[in-house]
Amino acid sequence: MESKLRDPKKIMKLSKLGSFHQSKLSFLRSFLKEFKDWKYNRDLFDLDEGGFGRAVYSFSKDRRVYSLVCFANKINDHERSDRVIATKWDAAFVLYDGIPTKKDLDRLSNDVPQQEVGRMSYKELTLSRANKSVRIFEHVVESLSNGKQPDKEKLSKVGYLYRTTAVYGSGKFGLADRFRIKNREEIYGPFRLEMMLVYLVRQFTFDQVNHIAKHKNSKGAVELDDDICKNLGIGNSTGLGMAPFIVNHPALLNNWILARETALKKIREIKKIDENDSKIFIDCLKKSLKNVTSWTTDSDFQNKKIKSLISDLYKFINFIEKEFSFEEDYAFNQIYKWIEKNLRDECIEYIVSMMMEPYDYITNPLLKSMSADEDKYFTIPTNKNVSDLRNILEDNYSDILKIDFEKKESNQNFWFISKNKEEPRLADRYLDKGSELEQPLAIARDICKLYARISNQKNSLKIGKFLIENNDLRHVVRRAFIVEKFPYAEIQDNTIGSNLMPIDMLRLKLSFFGAVKFDPRSDKWLRINMFQGAPLPKNLKKFDDYWVYNSLN
């Protein structure tokens, strides 16, 4: 039986993309899988009694070394902010390519804590900063220094000691350009070095909290229990900065979604399900319930989604246990058909993620296809003609072409770059100033304009000639020819409409990162947790790929 890939026009709707969950294809899981055999070391730990100073951690294999350089700084409580407008953080980090010398550390100690204002070099790969969780950091220090483990219930409500507020890579602020490192096999998957940074930062947070507690009470303090550490991740606060990324990297977006869709297709095509594989699926599903039921948020939007997910999951488990048999041919195909008919998007996509769990042989080869060389597709094939372009638009954008951009609400928002932070922002076209400086992210609107523009052009007109008078739409002409090659490259929705939920865009990207427990703080930013439940670096060699379901929280 051959199953079809799911229709991009359904999958690429924002409400659907905003229902994606972590899976075996997620970057933090594939990072751990890739680096599990690397040598981990804490090379330097030079903090004062208050936990301020510098530290270096590394992963090495053969002649390659990646070093995380940490700078912990004293800041006042009123200076601590998750917002991108902050200028000081409790700690700042950079991933260095190789082993940093003392001279490198001194140089970095000046620039890294300044983040966007500092200058990095081609020897630095990723850059980040993080703030202590005011909800639990002090509680953990106090408990440990008094010889006790912290209150697990308190910990479970937060899930991390530190929260990063940005992780930069790929040439930002002078960091190494991607081309310098793209041929390294260990980083073929996307965002590998960003994941490495976050993972090592997590270890730094444990070491720091132990260090402070010990200095508070050198005789009586205890170290944070390994099991507790394992169940703490790194928080992340993410705002709109991430949203345009998925619009600006169409080939990459396609490769992420295509990998997921290909995995699902192949799983649906398995005729006989091995007993052990069905057991892994059900086991992961049941264990994962703990992650869902312990998922807390103040957001009504997210609470509704969690509620729907939990009730659908119980409905599904009931179906699997009482009405379904894995003895049936193409059992996962049967399951997929059932969930599509009976469950809502949040749970459908959750179960799609779960279906991948038993199938390393399907997902592993897909991991390497999840990067993209966007530049390869940049040049417009100007020898094609208007008829080719029209066909592409009609085939790939049929839903978008139905949007009525004469309506005010279809044009409600505009994306811009803030002058003070150089970060993407969203504003109301009819209330806020600056729409004349709009970023080219209104793809649906511009595609509609392009379609109207070519309607009275000759079919045989070459694109090169068409562009002479129509270069104002050059950016979407380029996209159309990219989308022709990459079916999942385009969001099939209006990204400037009044009903836009920007967090759907963030959620999509973060699910591929492998984040869990999405906690929207508004419709434009959210908190997440990364690496919660992941093995500690010292235990990486005994790596269990299902760690994500073993969290105690």
Binding site: G174, T379, T382, L467, D472, H475
Partner: protein, 202 residues
């Protein structure tokens, strides 16, 4: 040092800021990145061009022909965009001339990318300065200055047919040396060594 990614982004935004469309600005971002990567003073020339563009008029060359001439200097970006977009039709012209093109360094990456599109090397001269554009993989030149070049009297473009840079004799001489790595086959090896079956036609 600024990374190429920063250069690309800043140039794209600056180009939009000066009034080009987003699509053209994207092209200029990629081009300046390319020039800087090849060691040519892209950003410096662009910066100077954008300073002058606010006060001085440049001619937009839309349809590129064999001989292109203007009293007002041509805009290197619009001329470059149209050269790139029309290159499939221009290749048969063998040689193309542009008289009076402003800031010619900014024109080079469009021609370099065109070389990749048509799969032919392009020989470009800016007055006495020579550039061999190799399929957008490299640029070979006798021009090493990092200064701003504000104008050119004449630019010539020649499409170079794909041919080897060596003679057949040179090839044969080298090939003969490569044969020293081969093993003379016995009759038995001729029968079995390729792993074929008992007959040639099964």
């Amino acid at each position: 040092m600024r990374s190429f990614s920063e250069i690309d982004t800043a140039v794209k935004r600056a180009s939009k800021g000066i009034g080009f469309s987003w699509g053209i600005s994207e092209e200029v971002g990629k081009n300046i990145r390319l020039l800087e990567m090849f060691g040519l003073p892209g950003l410096k020339n662009l910066n100077q061009y954008y300073k002058i563009l606010k006060e001085k008029k440049f001619q937009n060359l839309t349809l590129v022909s064999k001989e292109n001439s203007s009293k007002i200097p041509y805009c290197p970006i619009i001329a470059g965009i149209n050269f790139l977009d029309q290159v499939n039709n221009l290749e048969e012209l063998e040689e193309i001339k542009f008289d009076n093109l402003g800031f010619p360094i900014l024109f080079i990456p469009f021609v370099s990318r065109a070389s990749e599109i048509i799969g032919k090397r392009i020989f470009l001269t800016i007055d006495e300065k020579e550039f061999l554009l190799n399929f957008n993989q490299s640029i070979y030149s006798n021009y090493l200055s990092s200064d701003v070049l504000e104008k050119s009297d004449q630019i010539k473009i020649k499409f170079i047919e794909n041919k080897n840079m060596f003679s057949e004799t040179e090839w044969q001489e080298l090939y003969k040396l490569s044969e020293d790595t081969f093993v003379e086959e016995t009759d038995k090896l001729k029968q079995n060594a390729a792993g074929a079956g008992l007959t040639d036609n099964d």
